[in-house]
Symmetry: C2
Subunit: 456 residues, 2 copies
């Protein structure tokens, strides 16, 4: 065991990065613009500003500024739960008997339980700075809703969360955390919006969907004076804010002269992978270094590995803008027995372009193998991981086991995005042996891709 490197590397508070990194500035092929679903023309700032805060629209469209100053108030809030530790997984290495050196950046040591807070506080800040009364959003599993509730509570903003009805009912504790932070949580679909009423009239027994919750949250934002809508993943602005993860990891590694060979992140909409990996990918784009970057997605929702790089709607309801991304189709619904999060049909446009350009590879993993990795990790590293994060754990273990075979002492870095305290129903199904793997057939995916909108 390398004695010089501690189990946990903490930056000092004055070493927390003071700027976010915008990988778009280093991309030769810029991510494709969002299109207006009505006109199929690139969306302009003035079209986005009724929905999103002004400064966030600016960040969304800014492909050029390499570093963006983190506002003082956001930096102050970051000190509540950052720097997050970079952990050397000595216990995991020992359990695997691998010569690989494994590190993970742990983003779960805050009450939202995930990295989502990094962008939530930034988005809440810009809403406050613009003089808004409040914001609206949707939440599925609840991590983003919790993070935004915490951030809004800090700035005294009203926070209205549309929570997918089945989650609202199955995860009452997530709901209570949000309420403790003062958020108004409404099960979606609801009677508080026109779109909700319409869906309820048509499907009175529906348990809701993320697409529907998005539609309600957007309607609530544009119909209330002084409100805007905020979103926790996929968008360029979110990836920008999340780069605090990768920048901190780089700074911590630099302190001990550590250079990763492999960087691994789970990928749903891309906020975690983009946040962790894009500072490393930036070095690759600038020709300064080379890394093997791996995106890990669920086999039940495989947008990178089995999807198509094409324009598609960001929501099931087909009212949101079109984005050019790896997608398995906005009408694709992952199996209900898929427990591990990362259910979005598409992917960040930035990551999609980088993937198309060969900057990283992607792999899909099955959920029983993900929970096997999660259980091992919990037992030896002591932290119960979120199912999402456990996709990255699975890949990190697989890479470390390859090193065991070859004898290579590779350095592996992965993102541990959060904790699994609110995902214990999924753990229960694994503990009970009732969890199964559901992989869409080629026909399923072809049928879904056949419904892609015709653009270009």
């Amino acid at each position: 065991m390398d004695k010089k490197i501690p189990y946990k590397i903490y930056l000092k508070e004055d070493e927390i990065p003071t700027q976010w990194y915008n990988v778009r500035a280093d991309m030769k092929n810029k991510p494709a613009p969002l299109l207006n679903p009505a006109t199929l023309q690139p969306l302009k700032a003035e079209e986005l500003e009724p929905i999103f805060c002004k400064e966030l629209v600016r960040q969304e469209l800014d492909n050029d500024t390499r570093f963006v100053d983190i506002p003082e108030e956001v930096l102050k809030f970051y000190k509540m739960y950052r720097p997050s530790p970079l952990v050397r997984a000595y216990f995991l290495e020992e359990a695997l008997g691998t010569p690989a050196k494994i590190y993970y950046k742990f983003e779960g040591n805050n009450t939202s339980g995930s990295h989502k807070l990094n962008s939530a506080i930034a988005q809440a800040y810009y809403a406050k700075a613009q003089g808004l009364k409040g914001v609206t959003t949707e939440t599925g599993a609840g991590q983003w809703g919790t993070a935004l509730s915490m951030a809004c509570s800090y700035f005294g903003l009203d926070c209205q969360v549309y929570m997918v009805k089945c989650s609202y009912e199955q995860k009452p504790f997530r709901r209570e955390v949000m309420r403790t932070y003062g958020a108004k949580v409404t099960p979606s679909p609801s009677n508080t919006t026109e779109v909700g009423k319409k869906i309820l009239a048509e499907f009175p027994d529906t348990t809701g969907s993320l697409g529907c919750a998005i539609s309600e949250a957007v309607e609530a934002a544009v119909t209330q004076e002084g409100y805007r809508y905020e979103l926790g993943s996929v968008l360029n602005q979110v990836l920008l804010h999340q780069t605090i993860i990768g920048l901190e990891a780089q700074a911590a590694m630099k302190k001990y002269d550590i250079k990763p060979d492999i960087v691994i992140g789970c990928a749903g909409g891309g906020s975690n992978l983009g946040g962790l990996a894009s500072p490393f990918i930036g070095e690759m784009l600038r020709g300064e270094a080379d890394y093997k970057v791996i995106a890990v997605e669920p086999a039940s929702c495989p947008s990178f590995t089995r999807g198509k790089f094409a324009y598609d709607f960001c929501d099931t309801g087909m009212i949101c803008p079109l984005a050019k991304m790896y997608t398995i189709g906005s009408q694709f619904i992952p199996s209900a027995s898929h427990a591990g999060g990362l259910r979005f049909h598409g992917m960040s446009t930035i990551l999609s372009q980088l993937y198309a350009d060969g900057l990283f590879e992607a792999r899909a993993v099955e959920q029983t193998s993900v929970f096997e990795a999660a259980q091992l990790f919990a037992r030896v590293e002591g932290t119960l991981p979120a199912p999402e994060s456990s996709h990255a754990i699975r890949a990190a273990i697989d890479e470390a086991l390859k090193c065991k075979e070859t004898g290579e002492e590779k350095t592996i870095l992965f993102g541990l995005t959060g904790t699994g305290y609110f995902d214990l129903a999924a753990y229960a199904s694994y503990n009970d042996g009732t969890m199964s793997d559901v992989i869409p057939t080629d026909e399923d995916i072809a049928a879904s891709l056949a419904k892609l909108p015709k653009v270009e």
Copy 2:
């Protein structure tokens, strides 16, 4: 704001204390010995060893050794989640507008969610070192059971947890965490023990009690070859292991020349208060310093503030040893509407003696005011506190508000023992406005105290 002191003070890993502190060595009046309930004579080591591990019995009875070496394997495990941060509550100070400087030692950044892991890993270690196959225990809210499950998983020990039936049913997620760590969780009363069968025959609809679960766990330990029983609070050995909290806090404060005026801990069985405060009380006993130490207990279960210092049974079933302690009577059952933990009728014998000798003061707080403090803390400091810990938060806020009145810049240290992720049913009742305060009448307590066993 004092710029020099960071939001979080972390010791380096090689600064983690390598010895526990045994306050009994500095006590002129030693804690009274445990008595055999049959003979009313002090329990000897050989009577305790069929129940507890040999080394733990030695620690239980050792009133003389001031410092006890922490075994190497335990120190290694501590590095999984320690050092725990000493947090400067700048956000709370700002919200209160107080000149007081508030610090808290946060023990919740581990999957068990509380300080209980500090003793669990030590107890599991000694069981392993003795060559045992496994251990048994009981759990109510589930923190101790989770901690012991994690510790046993690490050492490959079998862990059998008797979980109070109503908690087993109401807290399925706690149960799943334990199962994820490989523990066998049995709802108590059960048909797996004679005492369980007897209780079930008499009260088929009972939802269980901690006293009953203790009885089952002890029976399971003594009737299985290679098993012992382990307990998460009250005992001298547990207070010894928990001093890692106070010793780390002292070391962290020393780095920045901080000296607390007031030290505050919540008190149920005493493991947290004893662990945090006894290194400070030791300085008082040795005449080196003076602190105002405050024990905070629930008004619904007020052993220090309204109990009697007398010998009493440690369990409702009256089969466990008698301890001389502040007690409101082993037959006292806190109101079912008491949500905030700390339900034990008695108190650590060490703390009881120290309290009798005037080393600290105690106060009782009502649960609605506890949850009010918890909510404020969650919102401004970003961590959702355990209800138990929130008793200490309540007192810390009250002391800080006194400073606001007087203008005194006192330094306050309190113990934040854990997080509230598994206590959201209690938060829900606070959020819904259905929580009420239930304070036992003088008659209730007199009736309970009238049933104390006659000793001496």
